[in-house]
C-alpha cells in the first residue's frame, strides 16, 4: 500500500493514506521528501513511488483497454 509522507523527523516519517497514519523508518530510502508516496513494509519505507512511472503504466493500461496493441518495452 503506497503511503504519503506527511512529516519527517530524522530517520522517521509519519506516512498517511486515506486518514490512516503510520510511523515508518525512512533510512532505507534516499532523498525522501514530504509529499512523496512510499511503500512501507514491516515498519520501513522500502522504496519511493515514481509518480511519472505510475501515470505511464496507467496510460499504457488505458491503451491496452482500448485495444491498441502495445506492451511495455
Amino acid at each position: 500500500m503506497p503511503m504519503r509522507v506527511v512529516s519527517i523527523e530524522g530517520v522517521e516519517a509519519e506516512v498517511e493514506q486515506g486518514g490512516t497514519r503510520l510511523r515508518a523508518r525512512i533510512d532505507l530510502v534516499e532523498n525522501v521528501k514530504v509529499g512523496d508516496y512510499v511503500l512501507v513494509h514491516a515498519g520501513f519505507a522500502i522504496q519511493t513511488l515514481d509518480e511519472d512511472e505510475a501515470l505511464e503504466t496507467l496510460r499504457l493500461l488505458e491503451m491496452l483497454g482500448m485495444g491498441i496493441q502495445s506492451t511495455p518495452d
Partner: protein, 366 residues
Amino acid sequence: MALRWVSEFRNGRVAQRLIERIAEIADRECTLMEVCGTHTMAIARFGIRQMLPNSVRLISGPGCPVCVTAQSDIDRFIAIGQVDGVVLATFGDMVKVPGSQFSLRDARTHGIDVRVVYSPFEAVELARQMPDREVVFMAIGFETTAPGIALSIIQAENERLRNFFIYPANKLVPPAMKALLSFDDVRIDGFLCPGHVSTIIGMRPYEPIATDYGKPCVIAGFEPLDILQAVLMLLVQIRSGQAKVENQYRRAVRPEGNEAARRLIDEVFEPQAVEWRGLGIIEESGLKLRRKYEHFDARLTFDVQVPQTKEHPACQCGEILRGAALPTDCKLFATACTPDHPIGPCMVSSEGACAAYYRYREVSLS
C-alpha cells in the same frame, strides 16, 4: 472511496479489456507461477484465476515467509523460548504455526513469553525496556524484510545492547526460483516475480532464470490490473519464444533496486545454504550473520535440546510450496485443516496458499 495509487489499478472496465487481450493471445497451455504470497492473496481475493482462460494456469510458489520456514527452525525457536529469562518476539503471522509439539500461541500456556511485534525495531525496544531479560527476534522474511533486520542489528550493536538476539531464518527468493526449476514434478513456463522483493534486488538477479533456464520473468505489482498486465506480458513473451526479465511494476521497482538497502544486508549478513520447507536445502538461499555480528545469533548463544521434528504425514504444504500440488489436492484441506485448526503453515499465514484458497473460493460466472 479512492485511495491514491490503489483505486486506479482496480478499474473493472480496464480489467475486462485486459482479460479479452489475454484470451486473444493465450493459444497454448501454460503454467505461470506467482512466487510471492502477497500475489497469491491478491489473485484469490480478486478472483483473478477464474477470469483467465482455462489454458492459463496460475500456481502459487514458495513466497510466504512463514510457510517456507523449516519446521526444525520453528521448533528450535520455541525451545529457546523455554530458556529462563528469554522473551520471544515475532511477527504475528508466525504465532499460530504448529511446531512439532505446540505452536507459539500455545507456547504461552507452557510459560513461554511470546510478544508479537510489527517491526524488528519493536523487538529492539523490548530489549531496551527489559535489560534483565533476553529478547530473541525470529528473523523471517525475504529480501524485503532483511534490510530492516540488518538495521536493527546495527542499532543494537551501536547501543551495545547485549540482550537482543535474532534467530536468523531470512531467505532469498532468486535461488529458490532456480531450485524450483530442478524439480521434475513441477512445470513452470514463466514467473510473476515478487514486487516488494524486487524493490530491493532490482531486475538483475532474475537474469539467469531468463537466460540460463529460458523462463520469462515479469516483476509485478499487487493490484488486479498489475497482475493482469504482467500475465499478458508473460504470454506475449511465451508466444514469441522469448525469455527475458521485464518490469511491470515500474512505479516502485527501479532496475537497479534499492542499493542502500542491499548494502545494509551485505554489511550484516552473508548468504548460506538453508533448509526451506518443501524445497529442502538450497545453496546460498538464506542469510547468516557475518562473524562481526555473530554474537547476535540466538542459535549460537542458547544451546538447547530440540525435540525430534514432526510434521503431519498427510500435510502437503511441501508440494504446495513448490507448485507441485494445489491446496485443493491435499486431503486435509478444508476438512482437518482450516484456519481455525491449521495443520500446515500454508493454512496459517494470511499469505499462505491454503488460507487464500480457503477464504476465497471461486464460483463460476453464470
